[in-house]
Symmetry: C2
Subunit: 157 residues, 2 copies
DNA sequence: CGCAATTCAATTGCGCACAACTAAGTGACG
DNA sequence: CGTCACTTAGTTGTGCGCAATTGAATTGCG
């Protein structure tokens, strides 16, 4: 055999995706601690980031930025609305669309969120260049995986 | 000002953790496709990997390998048991512990799983060295994040 | 105009992740 | 021996992620 035994592959496999999965969940743990003061979960924080950056926008656009669909966003946005951070209202010009916009309280929360990134960066133990490099690699990986998602059977050997 | 405006930090922040989160979910999509034939979800597949490698072991040990607790594993293992892949039985020597072991069917499934890693590796578009390097970086990141989790204010310089 | 295809948000159902709690078993120590 | 601290699984409740479906609104096309 030119290839190593299957056992090695099964173990290697775990290293790739499992490492990613574990890192993602470890981040979740840190964010849970850091965001506790703000009363946000990590996905809610991501939504707020997009809104702080882009202002009001429909659910669809929000989902495009975050790679999430309405099945995830609808209940999440309801919780943000219940917390008084956003308002949701049907667009006048297109009644299918729902515009999400920050309340005064939601806008104000940004002031308390600005310190979050520094605390997270500190927790990673990485410097800026490493973070950016890792991010770039991961983005390329995501693009490759998404491409495969829609093209599940490339020609085998 | 020696530091850039807060806006930049908020955007950078999104790049680190969001890239990781997105990559993790993109992996989920690929695994969902690849594992469909086996009737496994990705977390269930991870459990099977551990069992294939280590044989029978208690829920506690399983959780240590996978970084998961009983709140996640108990229902997951029930589903694997309902699918006929594992059996769960109280340890005779320590009645607190529940031993998880593969059934014949669970053991047999390994034969059909050996091709999974190659298909996943193909989907990443990365070669072996890149995969290993990325995995190592992520493992270091996870270790740093876990350390921060239990020690939220490490002494700075 | 009238009808079909499409778009958009919401809902439903299922599974995972995690905190908090419960319950049962074990072991050490007085 | 009895009690008390600890360990181990399981359960409950909340929230995320995604597939599939529903229902309303819009667009395109004859």
């Amino acid at each position: 055999m030119s290839t190593p035994p299957a056992t090695d592959w099964l173990r290697l496999d775990q290293q790739i995706c499992f490492s990613l999965n574990a890192a993602s969940r470890a981040f979740g743990g840190v964010y849970r601690v850091v965001l506790k003061d703000l009363g946000l979960t990590y996905p809610q924080y991501l939504v707020m980031l997009v809104l702080w950056e882009h202002g009001e926008l429909p659910v669809k656009r929000l989902g495009e930025h975050l790679r999430l669909d309405s099945g995830t966003l609808s209940p999440l946005l309801k919780r943000l609305e219940a917390a008084g951070l956003v308002r949701r209202e049907r667009s006048a010009r297109d009644e299918r669309s729902v515009e999400v916009r920050l309340t005064g309280e939601g806008t104000a929360l940004r002031e308390r969120a600005v310190e979050v990134p520094r605390r997270i960066a500190a927790a990673t133990g990485l410097d800026l260049a490493e973070i950016q490099d890792l991010g770039a690699r991961l983005d390329r990986l995501t693009a490759a995986l998404d491409a495969y998602d829609t093209d599940p059977a490339p020609a085998p050997s």
